[in-house]
């Protein structure tokens, strides 16, 4: 194991997995939520993780940007080991964007300010340049005219799109989406999915935890099904949905589809 994260980071090349997950274990008290998860994500991949509630999907995403520390195993993001006491958490989080089920926009800031905050204060970038980029990002997610609106004045779908723009403003290499449409009204789900699809088509590496099977089938390069903390089955969406092999996958897909 390299002695410093910088060395590890320097050793990484784009032909290696951008996210490498090895035998990850995580317990909350007596409950073991992740019982040895292993898989790779290559740059530009879009992967979807599905599974019943409580199967550890969201926890896994949170482990990738060190919001939740892992107990055992290894996660490397661009070669940077997450399970390392000397991990530069902030450096890791600058490369990994995350969008949440509950949007979590900052309610005391306008849409534009929400997007500008992190680049200005974390990356110390020039305010005017960031402002211009924030306007472009808002336009990209279809909310050009909502720059000065506060989160409370936006619909769920609009808030979620601002949240996506906020993450993108940090120029991340990987985007994590944690059930981003689960808290939305049905009529606003599509606008958010459309935004994610555009991102995926532009080559952004995306890891999605989702219940939107139709969407997963369309955008995913690879599907993962988790049950009780392990990956039960995975494969390209075509095979995965057409011929699930494991009984648990069959049962789950049977319920959902």
């Amino acid at each position: 194991m390299p002695s410093s994260t910088e060395a590890a980071s320097a050793a990484w090349t784009p032909d290696q997995p951008i996210v490498a997950i090895r035998d990850v274990h995580k317990s909350f008290g007596p409950i073991e939520v992740l019982k040895g998860v292993t898989f790779d994500v290559m740059k530009g991949d879009v992967i979807c993780i599905i599974g019943a509630s409580g199967s550890g999907k969201s926890t896994l995403l949170r482990c990738i940007n060190a919001l939740v520390p892992i107990d055992r195993g290894s996660i490397r993001v661009e070669g940077r080991e997450v399970n390392d006491p000397h991990l530069d958490q902030l450096a890791l989080r600058r490369t990994v964007g995350m969008v949440f089920q509950q949007f979590n926009l900052f309610p005391h800031k306008s849409a534009l300010e929400n997007i500008m905050m992190a680049p200005v204060q974390v990356l110390k970038q020039n305010r005017e340049e960031v402002r211009a980029r924030a306007h472009r990002l808002l336009a990209k997610v279809g909310l050009k005219e909502k720059a000065d609106a506060y989160p409370g004045e936006l619909s769920g779908g609009q808030q979620q799109r601002v949240a996506i723009a906020r993450s993108l403003a940090m120029n991340p290499d990987v985007m994590l989406f944690d059930e981003v449409t689960s808290a939305l009204d049905p009529e606003t789900v599509n606008e958010v999915l459309l935004t994610i699809r555009e991102l995926a088509e532009e080559g952004m590496t995306c890891m999605l935890v989702t219940h939107e099977m139709g969407f997963a089938r369309e955008v995913a390069d690879h599907m993962y099904f988790t049950d009780k903390g392990i990956i039960v089955e995975h494969g390209p969406p075509k095979d995965f949905f057409a011929n699930p092999r494991d009984e648990r996958t069959k049962a789950f897909l049977g319920q959902i589809l």
Binding site: L67, R93, R94, V96, F100, N104, F106, M117, V122, R166
Partner: protein
């Protein structure tokens, strides 16, 4: 009891109409750690009636018996500048105690959410100690334990009684502000921390840029409530000999030596405090209503 019940969703039909209001009130009281000051206009009206009524009664008695002695109203009028001066002193003491208490209390409250267990524990202990101590006892401690002057680098700084009273009153204010700050910070949904962490903000940035700005609104009503309570507690300083409105009223009554003046004089003092605290209570209520709406 289920957590849902505590949050005010109830299926008990009799509680339904009031459930929302009760829950909102319970939330506020949990946050500030005690009941909210609910001054109503009729409290003032009753006080005024008592003062004026009794004054009238005393005056009528005067007219019937010893007409040459001054009426209660005239006595009150004569003492008015002194009493008002005393009251201004009370307000000044309340300002200073609130200022010191807020500054130190904010710091203490932030220490209560420190990542260091030692700091967290120590600040919790200090907060609990001063929050659960009787205000008058704290005042006595400050009176008798603090020296009457300090000498720093050859310069002697006098420490008069009223300064000690300000410090004595600032201590419980500090402890209560500490709890208000801690409660407000912890009432911000954890998703705000998560989102900010995921954007690579440092803990300090998150606290100052994202969490605390959202807390100000939530802290304002309990803070104003605390101020109103403090203002009324400033009369405690009379017990330790500070020349504020209560002390002066006692002196005035002693000088007049008319037992029947007791009710109008003290009634007048209560009216003064009502006139000062009632608007604060009203504004606090309005703010609570406005901020009760989910952000």
């Amino acid at each position: 009891m289920s957590p849902d019940r505590l949050r005010g969703t109830t299926d008990l039909p009799v509680l339904l109409p009031a459930a929302g209001a009760l829950a909102a009130r319970a939330r506020t009281e949990r946050r500030i750690g005690g009941p909210v000051l609910r001054l109503r206009a009729w409290h003032g009206a009753a006080l005024a009636l008592l003062t004026v009524g009794w004054t009238g009664a005393v005056w009528a008695q005067d007219a019937a018996t010893v007409a040459e002695r001054s009426s209660a109203l005239r006595a009150l009028w004569e003492w008015l500048p002194v009493l008002l001066g005393g009251f201004v002193f009370n307000v000044a003491i309340s300002f200073m105690a609130m200022g010191i208490g807020t500054a130190t209390g904010t710091l203490l409250g932030l220490l209560q959410i420190s990542e260091l267990r030692v700091l967290r524990g120590a600040s919790w202990l200090v907060t609990q100690f001063f929050r659960n101590a009787p205000w008058l006892v704290l005042l006595f401690y400050c009176m008798f334990l603090l020296p009457f002057e300090f000498t720093v680098l050859g310069v002697t700084i006098p420490f008069p009684d009223w300064v000690k009273a300000v410090i004595g009153l600032a201590l419980p204010v500090m402890a209560n502000v500490s709890e208000i700050v801690r409660g407000a910070v912890q009432s911000i949904p954890s998703g705000q921390w998560e989102a900010a962490h995921s954007l690579a903000f440092t803990r300090r940035q998150i606290l100052w840029q994202i969490i605390l700005p959202q807390c100000v609104k939530r802290m304002l009503p309990p803070w104003m409530n605390l101020y109103a309570i403090l203002t009324m507690a400033t009369v405690l300083a009379s017990v330790v000999g500070v020349g504020e409105v209560m002390t002066l009223t006692q002196r005035a009554l002693a000088a007049e030596s008319r037992p029947e003046f007791l009710v109008p004089f003290y009634g007048f003092v209560m009216l003064l405090f009502f006139a000062y605290c009632y608007p604060i209570a009203r504004v606090t209520q309005k703010l609570e209503l406005r901020y009760a709406v989910k952000h």
